[in-house]
C-alpha cells in the first residue's frame, strides 16, 4: 500500500483505526521527498528536524483515543510566502534567504491546531511574481508530469509537490492565477477562494487586493476538507470575510441537476489551443449529461483584465516590496557608502529581474504624471469587469473556461515580455480582479500527456457550488 496515495479521509481513517502510525506516514512522505525533490526542486526547506519527535507526540495523542480533527497527522507543505514562526520563510528570494520569522501566519496556526504536519516550505516564483516558477532564487521547479516542462507558477512548488506525492496537500497563493495555473499544468485541484475567505495575516504580500491563500490537492474532497480547516473570520485581517462559514464537505453529496453553468465563449474561442478547447467542450457535455444546463455567457470587459491586472498588481507590488531595505531583516548589500547606496544596492542585488520589472512598472504607473492614465484607468476597468461578472451571475451559478489557453510550456520557452508572461494567465486574472472564487480541476490530457485544467468561477463565497460541480465531474471521470 502506498501511503502517499491515500486521500485525506482515507489516511485519517487508517490513522484512527491504528492501521498505520503517524511515524510511518511521515516517513513515507519523507522518503518520497528524498527520492524526488532533488530532481523536481519543489521544496526550499524540508522540516526534517524534530519531525520524528513531533510525529511521536501526535501518535501518542491518537493513541489516547480522543476525537481528533480529520487533518490530524496529515503531512502537508506550505508555499514559502506563508509565514512560519521560527522556520525559514524566503519567498524564494535572495532578499529573504535567511529570514526566520518571529511570528506565525493565521493559516499555519490553524493547521497546527488541527494537527496537520508541516513537511516543509515550497518553492515558488520570487514574491509570487511569475507563472513558471523560473523566477526563484532557489532554482526552477520541474513539472512532475514532464521534467522538461514548467510546473506553472507562482505556486509551482506546491502543485508539483502534491502532484508527485511529496505532500498530501499544500497551500499556495494566488494573485492572478498562482494556484490555478500550476494546478492545471500539474494535473491537480487548485482553489483560489473568494477574496477575504482565508486570512492573509502572515501571507507575504504581493498584490494585497488580490492575494489569497488556497489549497492545492489531489482531489476535490481533499480540497473541501482543507478549505474547512483554513477558512474563518480573522480579526487580524481587515479584509477577512465576516460571514457564516459552511461545512464545505457537505457539498460533496449534492448533485448538479438543473444547475446553470455558463461557458465563457471568449475564453474558448480566442487563443485557446485546439486540444484544450476540445477537452473543455467534452467536459461541458459531461456536465450537461449530469443534469446541468450549459449556457453561453458574455463577459466583454474581461478582455481588459490582463492590462488592468498588470497595472494594479504592479502598483501594489511596488509598494509592498518597498519594505525590503536591508535594515530590519533580509539581505543587506556588502559594500555601501551611505544610506542611499545601502538602499539601492541592497534592493538591486536582492531582487530578481521579474520583481524589479514589477517595481519599476508599479512605481511608474503610480507617479503623479501617469496615475490617471494608467492606475486610475485600470481601477475603472476593474469596476467594469466586476459589473460584468455580477450581471453574468444573475443568470448562471458557475462559469467555466479553460484554466489556461495551453498546457505546460517548456522550461526556458517564455522568458521575457508581458505577453509571454501573461499569456498563460489570460483566463485566470479576471476572477482575481473581481475577488471571485475560482478553481482548476484536471479534465484530461493532451496528446503529449500534459494535463489540461478546467476553470470554474463562482460567485463571492460560492466555494460550495464550485466543490459541488467539481466533485460530480470528478466522480464521473473516475467511473
Amino acid at each position: 500500500m502506498e501511503l502517499t496515495k491515500l486521500t485525506i479521509a482515507e489516511t485519517s481513517k487508517k490513522l484512527k483505526n491504528k492501521d498505520i502510525s503517524v511515524i510511518e506516514l511521515v516517513k513515507s512522505y519523507m522518503q518520497k521527498i528524498e527520492k524526488l525533490n532533488e530532481t523536481i526542486n519543489a521544496y526550499i526547506t524540508i522540516c526534517n528536524e524534530g519531525i520524528e519527535e513531533h510525529s511521536k507526540a501526535l501518535q501518542k495523542k491518537l493513541d489516547s483515543g480522543d476525537d481528533l480533527p480529520v487533518l490530524f497527522g496529515i503531512p502537508m507543505a506550505l508555499n514559502d510566502n506563508i509565514i512560519t514562526r521560527n522556520i525559514l520563510t524566503t519567498c524564494a528570494s535572495k532578499m529573504l534567504r535567511n529570514f526566520i520569522p518571529p511570528y506565525d501566519s493565521a493559516v499555519n496556526e490553524k493547521l497546527r491546531d488541527e494537527g496537520a504536519i508541516l513537511l516543509g516550505k515550497l518553492n515558488m516564483d520570487e514574491f509570487a511574481i511569475g507563472n513558471s516558477n523560473e523566477n526563484s532564487y532557489f532554482g526552477l521547479v520541474k513539472n512532475p508530469q514532464n521534467f522538461e516542462r514548467v510546473p506553472g507558477g507562482s505556486s509551482g512548488g506546491a502543485a508539483s509537490a502534491v502532484a508527485s506525492g511529496m505532500a498530501r496537500f499544500a497551500l499556495g497563493s494566488d494573485t492572478g492565477g498562482g494556484i490555478r495555473q500550476p494546478a492545471s499544468f500539474c494535473g491537480v485541484v487548485g482553489l483560489k477562494p473568494t477574496y477575504g475567505l482565508v486570512s492573509r495575516y502572515g501571507l507575504v504580500a504581493s498584490a494585497s487586493s488580490m492575494d489569497q491563500i488556497g489549497p492545492i490537492t489531489r482531489n476535490v474532497e481533499d480540497c473541501a476538507t482543507v478549505l474547512n480547516a483554513i477558512t474563518g473570520y480573522d480579526p487580524k485581517d481587515s479584509t477577512s470575510a465576516n460571514i457564516k462559514y459552511p461545512d464545505y464537505t457537505s457539498f460533496l453529496i449534492d448533485d448538479i441537476k438543473g444547475m446553470k453553468i455558463g461557458i465563457h465563449r471568449d475564453y474558448i474561442e480566442k487563443d485557446t489551443n485546439s486540444q484544450v478547447k476540445q477537452k473543455i467542450l467534452d467536459a461541458c457535455s459531461i456536465l450537461e449529461s449530469l443534469g446541468a444546463e450549459i449556457v453561453e455567457v458574455s463577459l466583454p470587459t474581461t478582455e481588459y483584465a490582463i492590462a488592468a491586472h498588470y497595472i494594479i498588481s504592479s502598483a501594489e507590488t511596488s509598494s509592498n516590496l518597498a519594505r525590503y531595505d536591508g535594515i530590519r531583516y533580509g539581505y543587506r548589500a556588502e559594500n555601501y557608502e551611505d544610506l542611499e547606496s545601502l538602499y539601492s544596492k541592497t534592493r538591486g542585488q536582492g531582487f530578481g529581474t521579474e520583481a524589479k520589472r514589477r517595481i519599476l512598472l508599479g512605481t511608474y504607473v503610480l507617479s503623479s504624471g501617469h496615475y490617471d492614465e494608467y492606475y486610475k484607468k485600470a481601477l475603472k476597468a476593474r469596476q467594469l469587469i466586476i459589473n460584468d461578472y455580477k450581471k453574468a451571475f444573475e443568470y448562471v451559478d458557475v462559469i467555466v473556461s479553460p484554466t489556461t489557453p495551453e498546457t505546460a510550456f517548456k522550461i526556458g520557452e517564455k522568458q521575457d515580455g508581458l505577453h509571454n508572461l501573461y499569456s498563460s494567465n489570460a483566463y485566470t486574472v479576471s476572477a482575481s480582479l473581481a475577488g471571485l472564487c475560482a478553481m482548476s480541476i484536471p479534465i484530461g490530457k493532451d496528446s503529449e500527456g500534459l494535463p489540461i485544467g478546467m476553470q470554474l468561477i463562482g460567485k463571492h463565497y460560492g466555494e460550495g457550488t464550485l466543490i459541488k460541480v467539481a466533485n460530480k465531474f470528478e466522480e464521473y471521470m473516475q467511473f
Binding site: P101, S105, R200, G202, V204, S208, D237, S238, T239, E316
Partner: protein, 478 residues
C-alpha cells in the same frame, strides 16, 4: 516697501490612545528601545494592519471641537517614501478623503478676535525615532513610536503675525487637551508644528513663495521661528533675491534656521488606497454620540466663569486655557463664598509653587476642597493672610485640612484685646525711643511698634487691633 506675512500651520498631534493605530502595542512614552514593537509596527513581511476604533473617534472629536464637517465616507492611503524610521517604506495616512474638513478656531490676538480656518484633519501613523550612535558614526533606530496614532491638522494660510500663530497654536492645544484627544506634551513630542510662511508686498494679491519650517517644539520656538523667517524672507526680497521653496529646520538654541531640502526635488508620494484596510462610513448616529462626549470647550467655559463666579475676563481666560487647571479651579470655587480669591490664589501661590517644584496641576498635593477651606479661614478672620501662606506650605507637604494645621501649630489670629493691650504696654515700655519719635511726629515709627507686637505673637495678632490699641496707648502718653 511694506510686507505682509502669510502663515499656515501643519500640526501633528499624537492621540492619547492606549495602543497604536494598527496594532495592540502600547503607546507609552519612554520605553526601552524596540520593546514596544510587533510584526505590524516594524513592518515584518506578511503583517497587516487593523485600525484602532478610538483613533477614528478621537479624530472626529477633534474635528467637531474645531468646527469641522465630518466626512461620510473615508479611506486610508499609502504615502510611499523611503526613510529608515518608516518600516514599511510607506506611511498609512489619508490623501484625498480626510476625516474632517473645513473647520475654524477663533483666536484673540493683538486685541482682535479672528477666525483661523482649518482645511483638514486626517489620521496617520507616526514613524520610529532616529538617534545618533555614541560609539560609531551611525544612526540607530527605535521603533517604539512607529505606529503611534497621529492626527495632522492643516490650517489655511490665515495667520499674519507671530502673535496670531502663537494664539492659534495655544488655542488648538487647549482644545485637544479639553477633548482629551491628546496629552499635548510637547517635550515628549506629542504635539509638533510645522510652519508654512511666505511674505508679499501689502498690495499684492497672490501669495509669495513659501518655506516650511520644521522642528518647532514649543509655542515660544514657533513665535521666534516665525519672526525670524519673516525677517529673513523680507531681507531677501529687499535685496532683490528670490525665495527658494524649501524645507528648513529651526534651531531654537542658535536662534537660526537652515535649509533641509529644496521642494523642487519634492518627492512624489504615489498615494493610493491601502488595500489592506477597509473604507469607513460615518453615520450621523456615530457623530452624535461622539459629539455628546465633547466636554464644555474653553470659550464657553470662560464665559460661564465670568458669569457664574463673577471672575474678571482676564482671570477666566487665564484659568480656562488649561482644562485640568480650570477643573481644579471649579471644584474649589463651587464650594467657596469667594471665588475671586480662589482665582487669585491659583494664579499666584498655586502656580508659583507648582513651577518651583516642576509639577503639573494634575498632581498637586493640595485638594481643591482644602484650598477652599484655607480661603474660608482667611475670610472669616481665623487666620491672617500672612499666616495663610504658612498654612499653605504645610498643606503642600501634608495635605492636612487647614483648620487641623491651624490648631496644631496654634496659628489662629489673636484678637483678644486684653492680651494684646498687655503686649502693647510692654512694647511701649521697652521702646521709649520709638515712642519719643512718634511724639515728635514721626508717624512711621508706629509701624515699627506694630511689628514688635506682631513678633511677640509670632504674627498671629490681628494687625488691625494691634494698630488701634497702639495708637490709643501712644496718644494717652502725650
Amino acid at each position: 516697501m511694506e510686507y505682509e506675512v502669510v502663515i499656515g500651520l501643519e500640526v501633528h498631534a499624537e492621540l492619547d490612545t492606549r495602543t497604536k493605530i494598527y496594532c495592540n502595542c502600547t503607546t507609552e512614552f519612554g520605553g526601552e528601545p524596540n520593546t514596544q514593537c510587533c510584526p505590524v509596527c516594524v513592518g515584518l513581511p506578511g503583517a497587516i494592519p487593523v485600525l484602532n476604533k478610538k483613533v477614528v473617534e478621537y479624530a472626529i472629536k477633534a474635528g467637531l471641537a474645531a468646527n469641522c464637517s465630518i466626512a461620510k465616507h473615508s479611506k486610508q492611503d499609502r504615502k510611499n517614501y523611503f526613510y529608515p524610521d518608516l518600516p514599511k517604506a510607506y506611511q498609512i495616512s489619508q490623501d484625498n478623503s480626510p476625516l474632517c474638513m473645513d473647520g475654524y478656531l477663533d483666536i484673540e490676538a493683538e486685541g482682535k478676535t479672528k477666525a483661523i480656518r482649518i482645511d483638514r484633519i486626517h489620521i496617520e501613523e507616526d514613524a520610529g525615532k532616529l538617534l545618533h550612535s555614541e560609539s560609531s558614526n551611525d544612526t540607530l533606530i527605535d521603533f517604539n513610536r512607529s505606529g503611534v496614532p497621529l492626527i495632522e491638522i492643516v490650517t489655511a494660510p490665515d495667520m499674519r503675525s507671530s502673535q496670531e500663530v502663537k494664539a492659534f497654536f495655544e488655542k488648538l492645544k487647549t482644545i485637544l487637551e479639553y477633548t482629551e484627544v491628546s496629552d499635548c506634551k510637547m517635550q515628549e513630542g506629542s504635539l509638533r508644528a510645522d510652519v508654512n510662511l511666505s511674505v508679499r508686498p501689502r498690495c499684492q494679491k497672490s501669495l509669495g513663495i513659501r518655506t516650511e519650517m520644521k522642528n518647532l517644539n514649543s509655542t515660544r520656538a514657533i513665535g521666534r521661528a516665525v519672526e525670524h523667517e519673516a525677517k529673513r524672507q523680507i531681507e531677501q526680497l529687499e535685496q532683490g533675491l528670490v525665495i527658494t521653496q524649501e524645507t528648513r529646520r529651526w534651531d531654537d538654541l542658535k536662534y537660526e534656521s537652515y535649509p533641509l531640502r529644496s521642494k523642487k526635488e519634492a518627492q512624489d508620494y504615489r498615494f493610493f488606497a491601502d488595500p489592506d484596510l477597509c473604507p469607513f462610513v460615518i453615520d450621523d448616529a456615530w457623530i452624535d454620540s461622539i459629539n455628546a462626549s465633547i466636554p464644555e470647550l474653553p470659550d464657553e467655559r470662560k464665559l460661564r466663569f465670568t458669569k457664574q463666579y463673577k471672575l474678571p475676563e482676564y482671570d477666566a481666560a487665564y484659568i480656562t486655557t488649561s482644562k485640568p487647571l480650570a477643573d481644579y479651579y471649579e471644584s474649589a470655587a463651587q464650594k467657596s463664598k469667594n471665588p475671586k480669591a480662589i482665582s487669585n490664589w491659583i494664579m499666584g501661590d498655586v502656580l508659583n509653587r507648582l513651577k518651583d517644584s516642576s509639577m503639573e496641576i494634575t498632581n498637586i498635593p493640595i485638594s481643591p476642597e482644602n484650598l477652599t477651606k484655607l480661603i474660608d479661614l482667611i475670610d472669616s478672620n481665623i487666620i491672617s493672610g500672612r499666616i495663610a501662606k504658612q498654612v499653605f506650605e504645610i498643606m503642600w507637604d501634608t495635605n492636612d485640612e487647614p483648620s487641623v494645621i491651624v490648631d496644631k501649630y496654634e496659628l489662629r489670629v489673636l484678637s483678644d484685646s486684653d492680651t494684646i493691650k498687655a503686649l502693647v504696654s510692654e512694647v511701649i515700655k521697652d521702646n521709649p525711643k520709638a515712642v519719643d519719635d512718634i511724639k515728635d511726629g514721626k508717624k512711621r515709627s508706629i509701624g515699627f511698634l506694630v511689628g514688635q507686637v506682631m513678633r511677640k505673637t509670632n504674627g498671629k495678632a490681628d494687625p488691625q487691633i494691634v494698630n488701634q490699641l497702639l495708637s490709643e496707648e501712644v496718644s494717652k502718653l502725650k
